[in-house]
Amino acid sequence: MTNEFPAPDPVPGPVAPLRARRVVLPPARQRAARPRSVRAREWIRQNLVPSPAGVLLTLVSLSVLIAVLGVAAWFTFSYANWRVVTDNRWLLFAGGFPHDGEWRLWVAFGFVFTLVGASYGMWSSLGRRDVLFMVPAGLFAVFMLAHGDAALWSTLWFLISAALLAVAYAAFRRIPREHGPTRTLAVRALGPVLALSVPIVFLVLMAGGGADSDELSGYLLNLLLAPAGIVGGLFVGIPLAIGRASRLRTISWTCTVYIETVRGAPLIGWLFVALFILGDIIGGDLIVRTMVVLAVFTGAYMAEYIRGGLQALPRGQYEAGHAVGLPYWRTLQLIILPQALRISIPPIVGQAISLWKDTALISIILPLRELIGSSRSAIAQGEFITNRIEIYVFAALMFWIIAFIMSRVSQRIERSLGVGQR
């Protein structure tokens, strides 16, 4: 064995034009060396016209796609009267929110942007695609809030929020990725703020002469209720999952009954409870009752996913905790839950997306006007009574954007936590 390394492949010369029907492609490196036009032709041959049946398939799907996109373009540019959206943007975005309290919205906006920046800096990194998302999202918020003289102010506030995001990102980016005292400190500082972010936003919006609870409506209400339900659902779901897995019969039995009952009826049924029954039990505003119902409902689903994570852990993990002398609760806190929650992140985010979409159900039976309810008031005006499809397509787009971003973020979390790899 004199030659330890295989000789490198000879550098390819100019490739003869490919005439054969069936193309056998050379190794990737040589393929890349060929001119772009040849590569494009090969790509088309492989992906679009591999065989006569493939050509037919391409043609059929192309015609369907063109028809659908054509109808969509005709609707968007010719048929639709988008004034129903542009004239009602404040109604759709914040509904009855008092105009003079607009700064509260912007402070909340800046707070959330800062948190987003900090979380990204802490656990991930901003990619080009995230920026591509955030710029239109921010500009859109400016568009929705800019009414009359406020256009200048909303642009200014948006720039300030974006700057806050960038500063928070840069600050938390500096924290070392490895576990150490600085990182622990940062996690301990950021974690509680994240957990309490929903109440903080409510405080900013409502405290000290801010909006009344019945003045919260429009898209803002969806943006408030969904996180409240998700965070509340985690607070309900984690104890429920532990309870269901408990060895104490009464506890596991009641938790099972609770979970199965809640999952047995649709969310709209539980909203019915919030409207007609829950008032007698816990009292409070309808908006508070709705949040309780959303948390209770989501909690039951999250409990099932977390239980899946708990069951996926080998018994040895519990026994190891026992062996080093940790009490039950410390075992859970330090050994079991961190691993179980990591396993169950993908379905939990899936449930969060599902709850976000389900906030659209609220104004079916409750007298709360979230985005769909506001849309209904928008088309109740005589001028826009025929613009039903436009307003609902717009609402669908609004829901789609957040749901899509959430699903992308969940894929990213999965990758960065190494779910399925550790």
């Binding site: 659209a360 159900l361 669908a396 829901f399």
Partner: protein, 403 residues
């Protein structure tokens, strides 16, 4: 061993020397007692908070005094029938729309899921677009958009679109031809039509049996025995012969417009259509992801082996890939069916009288919210149990039989 190690030199039993609070069993009892006490207190509080109401299910037997539209196969008068009857009509409406949506969604899901893995770039991307759009928008908004399109996008019943006198299309819905019992050759009684439908069922069973037998012969001998062709011919012969023998007791009823409604034939109303369409597309998008994931979970060797023995792309899919992927996807697909069942409660938003809509009307009229909610939840649980029971049977049939 443990007992010995713990017993101290004094000779007293270990349990007597460990304080009560530190004994494991005693602790469990304490925790459980405290938990039960708290639960009972909470229950007492809830009962007392709701105690000011009148309870009882007597209201269900009183006349409903309201009418609901969109019925099928039920002869029903809302003004005199009891509330229980009208509720059961709502349950039947739910079953109908969920049944249609589940069937179609499975079809859509399998097609789109397979298309997502197509080698054809255009097909794969179109399927991805479909899934991303319909999975990430709320079902309710989708249903409302379909409803708005069907109500305001289509012509009124005065300018009904007539396709060959068989299909009528307007904003009152679609009307299609439908089989209808009639007086046959023998001037016969009405039960002749019923017995023909029964014969059809028997014919289908016979045809399935023939197919299974022929497939068995194929496996034993290796000769091609045309199982599908023979089975279909058997069914056609049985159906045709019995149709003639019973004196052609069933005719096809074409729809017509009478005033402002459809008469004869079968009308699919916009409320039903929009709900079924939205449920189909939404559930279908989820099922497509399940199908894709279970196909991708198969070892690549399966497809390669099928290629190696020379199966075509379609044969690879139907004979090798899908049957194996089916085993993996059934539990997740069952979950999707269960959610579709519960999601059908958005019918209220498109004025389709499903069980939830009817129940909420009843509750709006006379109160009794707790009982009505109890009724709703029990009904949904029963429907869910039926669906998962059926799917368990399917699952038992397709799971791997260890030889």
């Amino acid at each position: 061993m443990a007992q010995q190690a713990m017993s101290a030199p004094g000779g007293a039993p270990a349990s007597a020397r460990v304080p009560l609070l530190y004994r494991r069993r005693a602790r469990r009892w304490f925790v459980e007692l405290a938990y039960v006490a708290l639960t009972v207190l909470a229950a007492i509080y809830v009962v007392s908070a709701l105690g000011g109401r009148e309870y009882g299910f007597g209201f269900l037997t009183q006349p409903a005094a309201f009418d609901i539209g969109n019925q099928w196969l039920v002869d029903f008068d809302g003004t005199t029938s009891s509330r229980l009857t009208i509720y059961l009509v709502g349950v039947w409406s739910t079953i109908r729309v969920v049944g249609v949506a589940i069937g179609l969604a499975t079809l859509v899901g399998v097609v789109v899921g397979v298309a997502r893995l197509s080698q054809n770039w255009l097909v794969a991307k179109s399927a991805m677009l479909f899934v991303e759009i319909f999975r990430n928008t709320p079902l309710y908004v989708q249903a409302v958009i379909w409803y708005a399109i069907l109500l305001f996008g289509l012509p009124g019943i005065e300018q009904v679109v007539n396709v060959g006198d068989s299909f009528l299309l307007s904003n009152r819905g679609v009307a299609i031809p439908w089989p209808d019992p009639r007086v046959g050759l023998w001037g016969g009684p009405a039960w002749l039509a019923g017995s023909w439908f029964a014969t059809l069922a028997i014919g289908a069973a016979v045809a399935l049996r023939v197919r299974a037998v022929r497939q068995g012969q194929e496996r034993e001998t290796g000769e091609y025995r045309y199982p599908n062709r023979v089975a279909m011919t058997t069914f056609a012969v049985i159906a045709g012969a019995s149709y003639l023998l019973l004196g052609m007791p069933v005719g096809i009823d074409r729809p017509i417009v009478e005033g402002t409604t459809y008469a004869q034939g079968m009308a699919v109303f916009p409320e039903f259509a929009s709900l079924a369409l939205a449920l189909t597309v939404y559930t279908g998008a989820y099922i497509a992801e399940i199908v894709r994931a279970s196909i991708q979970a198969l070892p690549a060797g399966q497809t390669e082996a099928a290629k190696a023995i020379g199966l075509s792309g379609y044969q690879r899919l139907t004979l090798v890939v899908l049957p194996q992927a089916l085993r993996q996807m059934i539990p997740s697909v069952t979950n999707q069916y269960l959610s579709a069942n519960k999601n059908s409660s958005i019918a209220l938003g498109v004025s389709y009288f499903d069980l939830f809509f009817v129940a909420s009307i009843i509750s709006n009229k006379i109160g009794h919210a707790v009982e009505v909610f109890f009724l709703i939840i029990v009904t949904y649980v029963v429907l869910s149990l039926i669906i998962s029971g059926l799917m368990n049977i399917v699952n038992a049939r397709v799971t791997l039989h260890q030889v």
